[in-house]
């Protein structure tokens, strides 16, 4: 077929497709009648093939660009994603997919825990052996209430009582989720950024724990920290595990190219970190409303342990039954 004949034969189809597309600038299918929609689905594959033929015939660039653009527009319309049921897919995600994802990636959580506790142990030992180093980890203001230096259990509850519950809860929550998201993103530095976040946060906690222990207030400290902290640290470890997954995919891509390996890991890792958000919400609510309360310290610790236990039961136990049902079918 000569180029001129090709243009003559196929030109009308391109004009027709162009006029149909121009009637739906926002991609609104209701702008066309049923018959026209059928026509559109028949026109698109033909025009897509025309692009390949035009290339083989070495048609001029303008015509080529025109039909390529037409095919692109029709393609974007016809192969669009169906509207998903958002509530349903979020529900399904937490009911089955997320616990399974956690179980598939739990080794990364263990590595994250190891890094966190290396930071914790290191700074704890340092501060116990040399109390003066405490201020590398603890903000000096923590020791002062109304300009008076000194740590006491009463001061701590006083400090918490001055913060209103709701802003404390939302502030802590949003800050922690931001840290979680960032420690995921920091994984793209081959995991170094994520490892730093883990060591740093572990060292902060360890330094504070040792500081209060030196002051003879270990129980007061832990009763304030563990109520929300057990679940919160666990959630941080999950988020950091996502960052480590991202980092390891770049360091050890296996048989994939580094880009392909990164892409595969990013999907899993992003879902892992997004699914940790509810844990941060719960921990934030506890920190805002339970931690400052008059509740006895041992009850707070018990509550923290119970929440962590529930999280573990959920993550390690959910999502089996459905799979079993699927296998039986």
């Amino acid at each position: 077929m000569t180029p001129a004949r090709f243009l003559g034969v196929r030109g009308p189809a391109w004009d027709r497709l162009e006029s149909l597309l121009s009637r739906m600038p926002r991609g609104n299918l209701n702008a066309l009648t049923e018959a026209e929609l059928h026509e559109l689905t028949r026109l698109y594959p033909a025009v897509a093939v025309d692009v390949a033929r035009a290339r083989a015939l070495r048609l001029d660039t303008r015509t080529l660009r025109r039909i390529n653009a037409l095919a692109m527009r029709a393609q974007a319309l016809l192969y669009r994603r169906e509207r998903r049921d958002v509530v349903g897919s979020v529900g399904r995600f937490f009911a089955t997919d997320y616990p399974r994802l956690f179980r598939a990636l739990y080794r990364y959580v263990l590595v994250a825990a190891l890094l966190f506790f290396v930071g914790f142990g290191g700074s704890y030992a340092t501060v116990v052996l040399d109390p003066d180093t405490a201020y590398s980890f603890v903000p000096g203001a923590l020791d002062e209430v109304d300009g008076q230096r000194g740590l006491s259990a009463a001061d701590m509850s006083e400090r918490f009582r001055r913060m209103p519950n709701a802003p404390l809860a939302t502030g802590v929550m949003t800050n922690n989720i931001s840290v979680a998201f960032t420690s995921f993103g920091a994984g793209i530095t081959a995991g170094i950024g994520t490892a730093y976040v883990l060591l740093y946060n572990g060292a902060m906690l360890g330094g504070m724990a040792a500081h209060f222990s030196n002051a003879g207030l270990p129980f007061a400290f832990w009763s304030y920290v563990l109520g929300h902290g057990l679940l919160e640290v666990f959630a941080i470890l999950i988020a950091a595990a996502a960052g480590l997954r991202l980092g390891l995919s770049l360091v050890l891509p296996g048989r994939l190219t580094r880009t392909a390996s990164l892409r595969a890991a990013a999907r899993e890792a992003a879902l892992l970190v997004l699914g940790s958000v509810p844990f941060f919400v719960i921990a934030g609510l506890v920190e805002g409303f339970v931690t400052p309360s008059e509740l006895a310290g041992s009850w707070k610790i018990l509550l923290g342990a119970a929440l962590l236990g529930l999280a573990l039961v959920y993550l390690l136990g959910k999502g089996y039954r459905l799979r079993a049902a699927l296998i039986r079918k």
Binding site: A4, L59, R62, R263, A266
Partner: protein, 256 residues
Amino acid sequence: MQEFNAIETPENVELAQPLAGIGSRFMAGLLDHILLGAGVSVVGFVSLIVFAGLERWSAELAKPSWLALISLLGFAAYWGYFMGFEYFWNGQTPGKLAMRIRVTCDGGRPLGFVEAAIRNLLRPIDALLGYAVGGVSMFVTQRAQRLGDLAAATVVASEQPLDYGTSDQRRGLDFNWEPEVTAEALLASGLSPQEYRALSSYWMRCDSWSIETRARVLPPLIAPIVQRLGGPSPQAPLETLEAFVVALLQGEKPRS
């Protein structure tokens, strides 16, 4: 960096998706950040007035609830703006809409939630040093992808309507005629094979060049031919010169 992303359709045809340049992406980002800043300020200010009114009614409750609201709002704006718009607006944010660019999967498919989440969870990393990290990544990758795009397997496509031009029949020349070297044409025109190839490759490409480029390229190309075989002066108008090229390629001997 390339101008186009080759996408494979289910029909097994390769289509060329025009990619957005760094400039339009930067402008879109700038617009989005301005809108985001303005939106947060307006909502913050309005809520401040509302809660100041509530303070008269319940001083205990007003300030804490305002603080709680502000921290949630700031969080939602920082993480939710790009993720939410890109997911619900099919790969566009207000800034991208204004610049007529759109995020798609690198295979040309529309963006899904996971892709929108990945590329925007990595945004703070790309935004380090004033988007220098993302900018360098866009310069060195073939499809102008920042780190978030690489991880999410997305590209940012341009949706500027192309100017197809109307030059085809303008001068009565058939731009779709394809020259083919034949012994007869060569003998008849008196061109050497090299000259014939040079002219035919000019003819095959010239329709995608601007008139100025053609007027610059063609005269030196045909000057030696005209000198040997005769024909219009290289200073003649472009239309005359191109008609001369077509005549030569079709095997017509120039009449001097």
